[in-house]
């Protein structure tokens, strides 16, 4: 599917789009017509994807009218701090910025993101996984173009599970049993770590059917739904809190040197991970490469097929973009249908593609990973992404995740009952939201 047919389709789409632009914006915006001395439009991009240099080069090589100037100003929160400052100051933001899904409503309410709808971005609707497109858009308004996602599945040490005859858990009840059995065979080992990561816990809650947030600026700017105390949400925290209290779950923060070393030394036997995690950790897990495998997420009800997502990112066009049309083109085509970009994205950066055609391509689903002893793990991740449904975030998700992390940290240190974590977070978040002028519903 990634062959010539696919490329031809992309070229045709581009041609059509070019014509539409000329029609819309008259001669001035139709590159070259305003005078040969102006050269190509330059579009500044902030992003922190691994191996992104090649993607930018591929874009610049395939476009003569638009050239991308890329800067990596920091990962995640570091870049967001700069973006928020630039949006508040009214200048200094790039034309195009990489933004994770959970941050989109935040930047929308800060009035930082341009609606790409008028520049033809709605044409891409069918290109992307539905859940991703719905998070990136608000009705007809297109605030972001999806790039990669994080459908969740269970990474586990196949060799250790096999060796000790412990069945790979298919339900969370079995997962708790396995945790106890692992502790029994190796007192130094844990089934996993409670990693103090807002996005990760959010993914687990998503999978449990918990939908704690609701926000649509298009419907009502000042109405937000917060319901963290629903039973679907509580059961996740109860299960994990119980495992932590029993000493069956470690407490290292994810992505620290300690957590990575523990994954590589047999101290952790599983990790409820995302589609991008294998690529992210494979390089640092040298000792245990080839001993891991991926299984579908344990279910809350035996035989069910409920799924969740952890992370994923998009390209947004800021309201400060000098040429929103060109910026929209950059956001749509840096990855989008670009085969060269996805070659790098899949094989070097290990992104999980949200472009449906790329995810469904046998070159992706059929790819055997040495790290997983030849297992074709995307055969598990792709159906997960297809199963994901609607999930919304608040326009102040940083506050929610930070508060949730602080409360779980209190619980981990014994200063709080796990059963009160979500109630306290709910209370704090509602108070914050009301102070911010929102009408809060459950």
């Amino acid at each position: 599917m990634l062959g010539t047919n696919w490329l031809a389709k992309a070229r045709m789409a581009k041609l059509g789009r070019g014509l539409a632009v000329c029609g819309l914006l008259a001669v001035a915006a139709c590159g070259g017509a305003t005078g040969e001395d102006s050269g190509p439009v330059r579009v500044s991009v902030w992003a922190w994807y691994p191996e992104f240099k090649g993607v930018v080069e591929a874009f610049n090589a395939s476009h003569s009218d638009i050239q991308v100037d890329w800067t990596n100003v920091g990962t995640g929160p570091d870049q967001y701090a700069k973006l928020k400052t630039a949006f508040t100051a009214g200048k200094g933001a790039p034309d195009v910025a990489m933004v994770e899904f959970q941050q989109i409503p935040t930047f929308v309410i800060l009035d930082g993101l341009a609606d790409m709808g008028p520049y033809g971005a709605n044409e891409d609707k069918d290109l992307y996984a539905e859940w991703a497109w719905s998070q990136a858009t608000d009705g007809e308004k297109v605030y972001a173009i999806p790039v990669d996602g994080g459908p969740m599945a269970l990474m586990y040490r196949k060799d250790l599970f096999d060796q000790h005859g412990i069945p790979v858990p298919t339900t969370w009840a079995e997962y708790a049993d396995a945790a106890a059995r692992i502790k029994a065979v190796d007192p130094d080992a844990y089934i996993a770590s409670f990693g103090s990561d807002g996005g990760w816990l959010n993914g687990l809650m998503w999978q449990a059917g918990c939908r704690p947030y609701g926000y649509s600026q298009a419907k009502a700017k000042d109405e937000v739904k917060i319901n963290l105390t629903a039973p679907e949400c509580k059961k996740v925290v109860d299960l994990y809190g119980d495992l932590v209290d029993k000493g069956l779950m470690a407490q290292d923060k994810f992505f620290t040197a300690d957590a990575t070393a523990a994954l590589d030394s047999g101290k952790y036997w599983t990790w409820a991970a995302a589609g991008w995690t294998p690529g992210y950790v494979a390089g640092s897990l040298k000792n245990t490469a080839g001993k891991w495998a991926v299984a579908p997420m344990p279910q809350w009800t035996a035989g069910a097929d409920e799924q969740g997502d952890w992370g994923g990112s998009t390209f947004t066009v800021t309201k400060q973009a000098k040429n929103p049309q060109a910026a929209t083109t950059v956001a749509r085509e840096l990855f989008g249908r670009s085969k060269a970009a996805w070659d790098i994205g899949l094989n070097k950066a290990f992104l999980y593609p949200l472009v449906k055609d790329v995810a469904a391509d046998p070159a992706f689903t059929g790819k055997a990973y040495e790290f997983f002893n030849g297992q074709k793990v995307n055969e598990i991740f792709v159906p997960v992404s297809q199963k994901l449904g609607e999930f919304q975030y608040t326009p102040f998700q940083d506050f929610v995740f930070k508060d949730l992390n602080d409360r779980t940290a209190e619980a981990m240190s014994g200063g709080r009952e796990w059963s009160t974590v979500l109630e306290e977070t709910q209370k704090n978040v509602v108070a914050y939201a009301e102070k911010q002028g929102f009408k809060v519903s459950r």
Binding site: I109, T256, K402
Partner: protein
């Protein structure tokens, strides 16, 4: 003649030395009101511009920001001192303040005590070893705070650090330096490591300025080296000690870098762990620049009050003795 021109010419231009004072005095008298202030202003101007551009204007802007509130849904509106009322009743800020004060009460005396002992030792020992020790003691200060915090993060690590497993040799449990009960101690150790040498050098320099005759007099009076150190040297450098203490108190109130970096290892470091960290998170995580400005001003005010109180008490005590 050609050679003499450069020699004589300046002499002709400027009046001979004996005349100068007279000339300048008369000039001063006649142009006191006009020329002098202009020249003075010109000298001050570069510094003044820097102060205005990088201190007065940003402070003024931040203060102006702090007088209005921006809510995400309602937009910006003028709220006067509301942000300050909110700050001084914000339990998160008050918790952070309490934590920092607690931290300072333990850490500052320990650090300054070590620094003073080190300085007195350095002053008493005059070998090559003392020179090397001075250099080594000062070195942590030369390490950027971020690098220092990261380094200690690894030293505290249960996997890579040499300390966490020490109790296991005698049958104990490994130490978790990031647990809520040890976290302040772990942070205090980093700060002490980074700043003791710096304070030691300040106190040591002050000791160098004490007239040696005082020590001789003390020796003749039959004082032991310890007595000289405690009864002669310490009182002689009291000014320097209180200066070091004030700077340390101010630094502690603004505690930020170490907890901000260590938060990457330690989930127990909450968003409002220290007041400065809280102000940072308000601005750059929650996009509330207005409240962040108010927090910063409130913190600045508290630092001012504490520092001033410290100076006041010190002076009173100095006057009494």
């Amino acid at each position: 003649m050609t050679r003499s021109i450069p020699i004589t010419a300046p002499a002709a231009d400027s009046p001979p030395p004996p005349h100068r004072p007279v000339e300048s005095r008369s000039r001063r008298r006649s142009r006191r009101v006009t020329a002098h202030p202009v020249a003075g202003a010109l000298f001050v101007l570069p510094f003044f511009l820097v102060v205005v551009a990088f201190l007065i204007v940003p402070l003024g802007y931040a203060f102006w920001l702090s007088l209005s509130s921006k809510s995400l849904a309602l937009g910006t509106r003028f709220t006067g001192i509301d942000n300050y009322v909110r700050a001084f009743t914000d339990p998160v800020l008050l918790d952070g303040l309490l934590r920092v004060v607690l931290f300072g009460l333990v850490q500052i005396p320990i650090m300054l005590g070590i620094a003073l002992a080190g300085a007195l030792t350095l002053d008493a020992v005059t070998t090559k070893f003392a020179l090397a020790f001075r250099l080594i003691a000062f070195m942590p200060y030369a390490v950027p705070a971020v690098v220092g915090a990261l380094m200690w993060g690894f030293l505290y690590s249960r996997t890579f650090g040499p300390f966490a497993d020490l109790p296991t040799f005698v049958g104990g449990d490994p130490i978790d330096f990031f647990s809520s009960s040890l976290l302040l101690l772990s942070l205090g150790n980093i700060v002490t490591w980074a700043w003791t040498g710096y304070n030691m050098i300040i106190l040591y320099s002050a000791l160098q300025g004490v007239p040696r005759e005082m020590y001789e007099a003390a020796v003749i009076d039959g004082a032991t080296p310890v007595q000289i150190a405690l009864r002669v040297k310490v009182p002689a450098i009291k000014q320097a000690i209180s200066l070091a203490a004030i700077f340390t108190v101010i630094g502690t109130m603004q505690f930020f870098t170490e907890p901000a970096i260590m938060a990457r290892f330690a989930p127990q470091i909450s968003a409002g762990y220290t007041p400065n960290l809280y102000a940072y998170n308000q601005a750059f995580a929650y996009s509330d620049f207005h409240y962040s400005a108010a927090l910063s001003f409130a913190l600045g005010f508290l630092v001012f009050v504490v520092a001033y109180a410290f100076v006041f008490i010190n002076r009173r005590r100095g006057a009494r003795s």
